[in-house]
Amino acid sequence: METSQPSRPDDSVIEVTDLHRRYGSGTTGYHAVQGVDLTVGRGELFALLGTNGAGKTSTMELIEGLAAPSGGTVRVLGHDPHRERAAVRPRIGIMLQEGGFPGDLTAAETGRAWAGMTSGTRPVEEALELVGLAHRRDVRVKQLSGGERRRLDLAMALLGRPEVLFLDEPSTGLDPEARAAVWRLVRELRAQGTTVLLTTHYLEEAEELADRLAIMHGGRVVTSGTVAEVIAGRPSRISFELPAFGGTSLPPLAAEVAVDGRKVTVQTTDLQQTLYDLLGWAHRHGIALGALDARSASLEEAFLAIASEAANQAPPQAAPPSGTAAPARTARRRLIGSAR
């Protein structure tokens, strides 16, 4: 199947401007979403990442039109999803974080009921087949496993052949095989032009699926862009343990080095050169580096760094220029290399 790039970037399906959501009022109120801006183009798969309580689901609910924002605007397919829900709902599909299907109906009966409430549906059998539940059609929902229930939820979201699909943590509770299958399905839907907005805990999922992503913290978007853009400028990481006898001091490295007892963590923007310098030094001195591990910058690294940066600021604000990620609470010394 051909992969279609987001055809026209200006053809945005979801437009969110300065979005706010407050629960309660006054000093007891809670400001869950604090000025979020997002744009998702047609056919794009956009992932919303964030720590627990970052405001992902609150933001999703506003974009889905389940609640009215306290401030700012949302446009989905050119309409206000809350006030003009009749225009928007038939064209979107929603999967909530937690399914809500009566336990005493079978999967097929659930599908039939949903089909009766949805415009332009695909056959129920087809929807169940898409998520691999066709053989469980006559099993009551309460007897389905947690993962099967998630997939039923996904099938219901797909029932109306939505142009825009909202998935709130779609793969939570799935075993690795089912997760891979859901990823395949989502990728296929995207390839057919479905716009997807999803939230996830799994950074791997975002890395695997997303055209673009945003990382939220404290109700704000801290950083956004393609995976490459978000990772760009984030350091690679080398970690190892020095031998117990010690005595040798580390070589000068063009990197940031953190020592915690025998454990050493090096963060570098030039992984190959730093690794070469380090291994050369170890070889010359006959030192065995224990638990040696070297990895390129990943979304996970970037995410953790951004989360801890954001957590160190109160109130949370946009992240400072990257490259200063710091593992907290470890002794640190900067050894600017002169060797090269």
């Binding site: 889905e64 038939p90 399914g99 299907f101 009566p102 009966e109 009766g116 089912a178 057919q192």
Partner: protein, 280 residues
């Protein structure tokens, strides 16, 4: 999950546009299936009202001893019909709303195309059908068996029927907001159930009550709609002599007003307090 996603232009045809009628039907059908599979709910819906009928018969016979003018046959059939309409809809539906809210079904339904009012009414479909069926069987069967007169003003009966059912739905929605679990619905519905049974003129006709008490009862939420049914059926609410079709409108007018006011209040309360998802 090996199948490819069929495209919109693929061999399968898209279903029709969703309409209010289709949505109510789909929801009602699902809800009916659930009712049939839930032994407790089914038992409460079918057998408890029948048990109440026997109590009703006993109470009315007893009252007739002190009030010789009382038309026990008519009141028995009328009271039974009233109990069916009130009890089956109000109690069942309160439990149904609580159960669906607890399972997050209401929240999930709101993500679809159905509007809030459609979700409320769709869930009520089986309770309404069941109540109307039972009321019809008892009303028609009882009238024929006991040789009751033909209703004086069917229009008023219809108005009373619609008002009582609508009020019951709204009050069920309201009661469900104050009910955490299906099990506790028995307790939270008690006040209204007592009002329906004792204060609406069903078990104890208003005319055998002391005047003061009767006046208060006439103002209770469910009384006026029931009185409309009674006036439409027999041409009198018991406070004066029976009239014909034309005269029944005059007798019914005040009940129409109070019934409408109560319905308005119940709907307002339901909209104001109804909760779509459990409190966290």
């Amino acid at each position: 999950m090996t199948t490819a996603v069929p495209t919109a232009t693929g061999p399968t045809t898209a279903g029709p546009r969703s309409t209010t009628a289709r949505r109510l039907l789909a929801l009602g059908r699902a809800e009916a299936t659930l009712l049939l599979r839930n032994r407790t709910a089914l038992f409460t819906a079918l057998l408890l009202p029948l048990f109440l009928l026997f109590t009703l018969r006993g109470t009315l016979t007893q009252q007739a001893e002190d009030h010789p003018g009382l038309d026990v046959d008519s009141l028995l059939v009328y009271g039974s019909v009233g109990m069916m309409l009130g009890f089956v809809v109000y109690y069942n539906l309160t439990a149904a709303y609580v159960a669906r809210r607890g399972e997050l079904v209401l929240k999930r339904l709101r993500t679809g195309e159905a509007r809030d009012i459609e979700i409320m009414l769709g869930t009520a479909v089986p309770s309404l059908v069941l109540a109307l069926l039972m009321a019809a069987v008892i009303g028609i069967g009882g009238s024929v068996a006991l040789h009751l007169a033909v209703p004086v003003n069917p229009l008023l009966m219809l108005a009373g029927l619609v008002l009582i059912l609508a009020t019951m739905i709204a009050m069920a929605a309201l009661s469900s907001s104050f009910t955490k679990t299906v099990e506790s619905a028995g307790i939270t519905t008690m006040p209204i159930m007592l009002v329906i049974q004792l204060g609406s003129g069903l078990f104890i006709p208003l005319e055998v009550m002391p005047d003061r008490v009767a006046d208060v009862c006439r103002l209770l939420p469910t009384t006026p709609a029931y009185q409309l049914i009674r006036v439409g059926w027999f041409g009198t609410d018991g406070s004066s002599a029976a009239t014909g079709f034309a005269g029944s409108w005059g007798t019914a007018a005040p009940h129409l007003v109070t019934a409408a006011v109560w319905l308005g209040l119940a709907v307002w309360g339901a909209v104001r307090y109804f909760r779509w998802e459990p409190r966290r």
